[in-house]
Amino acid sequence: MTKPRGMFDDALLMARKDLQLERRAKIGLGQVLPFAILVLLLFAFALDPDRGVLKQATPGLFWVTVLFSAVLTLQRSFGLESEDGILEALRLTGMSPAGIYLGKVTALTLELLLLEAVLAVGVAVLYDTHFIGIPLLLVIAFTATLGIAGAGAVYGALAARLRSRETLLPLLLLPLLAPVLIAATRGCEVSLQREAMSGWPWAALLGIFALVYLTLGSFLFRPLLEDA
Amino acid sequence: MTETLCIVGAWVVTFGSVGSYAAVVILRGRRLSQTVPPEQRRWM
């Protein structure tokens, strides 16, 4: 017969399903990405490109945009599930909750990384950013995104079944992600040589955040699916 | 002048908020215990 499926097999299955859904619906591409670019434009309108504030604030504005886009992506990702009762169905199939969680996190991370890549191009073009210290930037982007997805998946699933999810998800998630915003922004500032210190401690903090929430989320997803 | 105002203000806010909360909780407890039969009123 079929050999028993492990957590990582479930995760892979889940990630593939999510990514396929995204490829077909193209919400990320068609809606969240334009929204993100729009936010970059709005910042330019608000902060006036000629005064130099925009250039100075680029890392922060970039990550704030990513956070807002992440909230939208999460709401979409879990909104689908709850509408069709898919989360309940998944639970009944006997898939390991940790596997479902990790699968969702994987898909989210990939989607967000793609978004960030395009946004990076946007920022280079619109805000005239020159990318220096690329290794640090990449590590920061990866760890920060992993943390955002890891923490976001927990609250995304929790908020999915609430009527007021549109207002509750940002309220719950964004304070939680404050250290990610701080660390990612400071790290990027260092990388773009705007600060004279090492950026790797910030990357380490982001790594710890990601690790902590991925672990916590894996344990919390069972009670979350069953009771919350 | 601002100094005294802030100091007094801090004490007023602290005592006021905690006191109001205490009053709300106690009054709520009284109101609820009247709707619940006596043997169910306490956890212990």
Binding site: L158, E226 | T4, A10, R42
Partner: protein, 270 residues
């Protein structure tokens, strides 16, 4: 329906009205005693500080409230973990009480800190590590309370809140570290760098009285809030039982069948 262990140790005594008891009266009286001491020494008897001047009198309250808030949030954290393990109503009630009391004391802490800042720095707010971390923490726990307020099955609500409680508490050291590193670059006089070892005599006495008073008040509030929460659960159970009973009576064979139980369970649940 969670089972509740009710000991009828006071079966012979008259049924209690409200959440008070001899225990809370003793606790409350002791707290009041220390409060009076704290007010007397804090506001009047102790002298102005050598470094802080009269603003130290705000610190006499700022420290107790932040300690009480930490204790409350710690209890919420432990209760959240215990609830996810044991699934008993006790831990849920304890955790939610802690979140509410913690938010109260924490908000007061921030206001006190802002007023202290107005006098010392001239501004209500400065992005110094403690205040910044506090702001983030406060909003996290307000989120906890927001989810708590959503009408839901007790088990569902308890699980949701326990998850939030755990996720939030784990974040505290991380936020602390991030903000410290960040704002540590722009070091200024922090609010809590104000408890210096030169504080002696009546000042120290005022500080300790206030601290003991704060913790006692916190404990006292906990008991009342826990009991009030317990009563609320019993009342809503009764209300539900009553509604079901009414429905049952309505849907006798002769009468047309009625709709169903109250639709106050929030969210698009299956």
């Amino acid at each position: 329906m969670t089972s509740t262990k009710i000991e009828s140790s006071s079966a012979a005594a008259p049924a209690p009205i409200g959440t008070g008891s001899r225990g809370t009266k003793v606790l409350g009286a002791t707290a009041l005693f220390f409060l009076v001491l704290a007010v007397a020494y804090g506001l009047f008897i102790s002298p102005a500080d050598s470094q802080l001047g009269n603003t130290v009198r705000i610190i006499y309250m700022h420290v107790p409230t932040v300690m009480a808030a930490y204790v409350a949030f710690l209890i919420t954290a432990l209760s959240s973990a215990m609830y996810l393990w044991k699934r008993t109503e006790f831990w849920d009630l304890l955790g939610s009480s802690g979140a509410e009391i913690g938010v109260l004391f924490f908000a007061v802490t921030i206001v006190d800190g802002a007023l202290w800042g107005k006098v010392t720095w001239g501004v209500f707010w400065r992005w110094e590590p403690r205040l910044t971390t506090s702001a983030v923490l406060l909003i996290m726990y307000i989120g906890y309370l927001a989810v708590r307020a959503i009408p839901a099955d007790p088990k569902t609500r308890a699980t949701r809140c326990a998850i939030i409680g755990l996720v939030a508490v784990v974040n505290i050291p991380i936020v602390h570290k991030a903000v410290d590193w960040w704002r540590g670059l722009h070091q200024g006089k922090t609010v809590l760098g104000t408890i210096h070892p030169d504080m002696g005599g009546t000042q120290l006495f005022a500080m300790y009285s206030a601290l003991i008073a704060g913790l006692l008040v916190c404990a006292w509030l906990f008991v009342h809030r826990f009991r009030a929460g317990f009563l609320a659960e019993r009342a809503s159970e009764l209300g539900l039982d009553q509604a079901l009973e009414e429905r049952r009576l309505e849907s006798s064979p002769a009468a047309p069948s009625s709709r169903g139980a109250r639709d106050d369970l929030g969210g698009p649940q299956t």
